[in-house]
Amino acid sequence: MATSFSVSRSTAGNLTILSLSGFLDAHTAPEFEKAIQQEFDAGNIRLIADCGGLTYISSAGLGVFMSFIEDIRGAGGDLKICSLTPKVAQVFEILGFDSIFEMVPTADDAAKRFV
């Protein structure tokens, strides 16, 4: 029984949207890490993580967000998070991630936050 997780990529202007779905845990976090690393290496640093399809997250998944944000912002970009389900949002909030990341209701809202 393996955990199912997927990341799909789309663009809107100069923004890159990574849509996450399934279970983001210690087993699947490396896949998400690889996806963000690829974007960063390609110079795509205006990122939106659309978590509408994400049904579960553990600290391994949160750690991926955390380990990239400083480099992305340092390069002049940002990673904004949208469409969190209440269950997943609760985990972000327990650890205080709402003070580090902008978390907004929709991808459109996230896009508007990029200057």
Binding site: D25, H27, S59, S67, I94, L95, S99, I100
Partner: protein
């Protein structure tokens, strides 16, 4: 615990692919204990964190070792014991840095233990040198 006590066990190889199976097991425990959906989710996440720590840190690359989860339910609580025979750790050595400091250092260490302590009512960790490491977590049923 009282006489209403029931015990359930799951033993899985130390591979992160088994975390989903562990969560299913714990979900069933939480439902059987009468927890709310929100508390079942908290129990699931806390045990996932404990087992992921065992698989990734206590056992490292050894995927053939065993992670043992024992759940004990009584009318007031669920007690989870996660046992491994890998490398133990000192809970006092876990980073107490605030989130901003961890982000600045690009580190995410200790998040799992922070979650466990927030999600559960009690968390105890014991290393019995040369024998086993045991993490005991307790969540009380809110009535």
């Amino acid at each position: 615990m009282a006489s209403m006590e029931r015990t359930f066990r799951l033993e899985v190889p130390s591979n992160t692919e088994n975390l989903a199976m562990i969560r299913d097991f714990v979900n069933g425990i939480g439902v059987r204990a009468g927890f709310s959906p929100s508390d079942v989710a908290k129990l699931e996440l806390a045990v996932d964190e404990a087992c992921a720590n065992v698989i990734e840190h206590a056992y490292g690359p050894e995927v053939t070792k065993e992670v043992s989860i024992k759940a004990t339910i009584d009318e007031f609580t669920v007690q989870i014991d996660v046992v491994d025979t890998g490398t133990g750790f000192d809970p006092a050595g876990i980073s107490q840095k605030n989130l901003d400091e961890l982000v600045a250092q690009r580190k995410s260490g200790g998040l799992g233990m922070r979650l466990m302590k927030t999600l559960m009512d009690e968390v105890h960790y014991e290393v019995i040198p040369g024998q086993k490491n045991e993490l005991r977590m307790i969540k009380r049923l809110k009535k």
